[in-house]
């Protein structure tokens, strides 16, 4: 069968038409894909802003807590010690030699200095957190041990610290403070166990207490678990996971894990 000239012309036109349609489809596809990319980038930018906002909130909260601790310490410890020193010194009469009272005043002054050093150490925890989460947690726990009767066990199994994750460490530290605060306020616990673990690609913090525990679902339902919501939200924001194990009467264990290289 021979193909006529007219048919061939028609064929050439059809092929050319199809070959012109193909770029149109391709360009349309690229344009649609590009629009999707724009949407994805917008969402990514939005998430970045939310993360930065939460980071800022965490920083402020850590600072607020620090200021509260300083105020408490100044009022309860250093203030008391200096008052006692003042009373002791004023009771010494210039004529008599009262070695005992002078020695007491000296001891009180030394204790006040020690308290001040501890306070200063705690203030520098702000800087410590930027480099080492384990150290910052240890400083926080030292502070807690001093003023309370809790039996505290802390295990730091971290192998290395990555400065790139300093922001995430700060948020994790803030979560730790929130969990600790909840235990002190509500748990009625006597033993607190903290384990900071690191496996390739993951940093996890486990906080366990032997307190009264709670029914997780009920707490969430009645809206009393705003602290838990906050912890969960921040863990998710760091692409991490939060798991809570608790039952009334059997204590609570909270595990926060975040990606960490």
């Amino acid at each position: 069968m021979q193909i006529s000239s007219k048919e061939l012309i028609f064929l050439i036109f059809i092929i050319t038409f199809i070959f012109l349609l193909a770029p149109i489809f391709l360009i349309t596809y690229i344009t649609v894909y590009n629009k999707k990319k724009a949407k994805y980038l917008e969402e990514k930018e939005e998430l970045r802003k939310v993360f930065e906002l939460e980071l800022l909130k965490s920083q402020i909260e850590v600072q607020e807590r620090l200021m509260q601790n300083i105020a408490d310490n100044l009022h309860d410890n250093i203030g008391q010690l200096l008052s006692l020193t003042s009373v002791t010194l004023s009771s010494i009469s210039p004529e008599s030699s009262q070695h005992e009272k002078i020695k007491t005043a000296g001891d009180l002054t030394i204790r006040a200095i020690r308290e001040l050093r501890q306070l200063s150490k705690m203030m520098s925890a702000q800087e410590v957190i930027k480099k080492n989460l384990g150290h910052a947690i240890a400083v926080e726990l030292d502070w807690l041990k001093k003023g309370t009767e809790f039996s505290i066990k802390f295990k730091d199994n971290t192998t290395h610290s990555n400065e790139e994750y300093a922001d995430k460490e700060l948020i994790l530290f803030r979560l730790f403070q929130e969990i600790l605060s909840n235990i002190i306020k509500h748990a009625q616990a006597s033993v607190i166990t903290i384990i900071l673990d690191q496996v390739p690609g993951l940093l996890s913090l486990s906080v366990k207490d032997n307190g009264k525990g709670f029914a997780i679902e009920e707490k969430m339902k009645d809206g009393a678990g705003m602290g838990l919501h906050n912890i969960s939200k921040r863990a998710m924001m760091m692409s991490g996971t939060l798991s809570i194990h608790s039952n009334p009467g059997s204590g609570t264990e909270i595990l926060v894990s975040i990606p960490y290289l």
Partner: protein, 222 residues
């Protein structure tokens, strides 16, 4: 005089004038070179018409122009890939060498008597792939670009329309040249290339306008 006003010459002249207006104050020499290239295109086209009116064979003119066309397109893709930091830009010299080998072989085969259509066909395939690779770079690029007003994107669109749309003509080139089929009094190949030229130079003109507007916006925001 009337013979010089063909669809091709008018399209090329309009595109040249737009490039002259939009790219004359362009700081990037690469973009500026489009003015020079389009001037050559227009001169070649009108010279082709002139030779045709004298009943001379104008294939040698288009053969010589093929080298300029290949160089310009190749340099354009080189510039484009370099902007995306793609290693494909390094293949430029290899491709130009391959082109020259094929071109010389075909010319010596037909003793410089006919247009090297096989070389043109190979070149078309290479530029179609180069265009697709550019799209891939656009997709993979982390930065978002507004494609509707992205000049390079429209230059590539024009190239893709022109070279991909001309595939049928490349396949049937031998037949079309020898049969001289002319359903509307004009050869089929000529009719198709009129359409392709309109598409190519429309896309390019739009790209030059986008470039002009971008340059004006960036200079006014300084």
């Amino acid at each position: 005089m009337h013979a010089y006003f063909t669809v091709n010459t008018i399209t090329e002249l309009i595109c040249f004038l737009i490039s002259l207006y939009c790219l004359f104050n362009e700081r990037n020499n690469f973009w500026k070179s489009f003015i020079f290239y389009l001037l050559i295109v227009y001169l070649v086209e009108t010279s082709g018409v002139y030779l045709r009116t004298l009943k001379h064979n104008n294939s040698m003119l288009y053969t010589a122009f093929l080298v300029a066309e290949c160089a310009m397109m190749s340099l354009f893709f080189y510039h484009l890939y370099e902007k995306y930091k793609s290693k494909a830009a390094l293949t430029l010299y290899g491709w130009l060498a391959l082109f020259m080998v094929i071109f010389t072989l075909e010319l010596s085969e037909n003793r410089f008597a006919a247009f090297p259509y096989k070389t043109a066909a190979v070149m078309s395939v290479v530029f179609v792939f180069a265009s697709c690779y550019f799209y891939l770079l656009v997709i993979k690029d982390e930065h978002f670009r507004q494609l509707g007003s992205y000049p390079s994107f429209w230059i590539v669109n024009g190239i893709l329309f022109y070279y991909f749309g001309g595939t049928a003509c490349n396949i049937f080139y031998d037949y079309l040249v020898h049969q001289q089929i002319s359903p509307f009094g004009i050869s089929v190949r000529y009719t198709i290339y009129n359409v392709l030229n309109i598409l190519l130079y429309s896309c390019w003109s739009y790209a030059f306008i986008c470039r002009y507007r971008q340059r004006n916006l960036s200079s006014s925001s300084l």
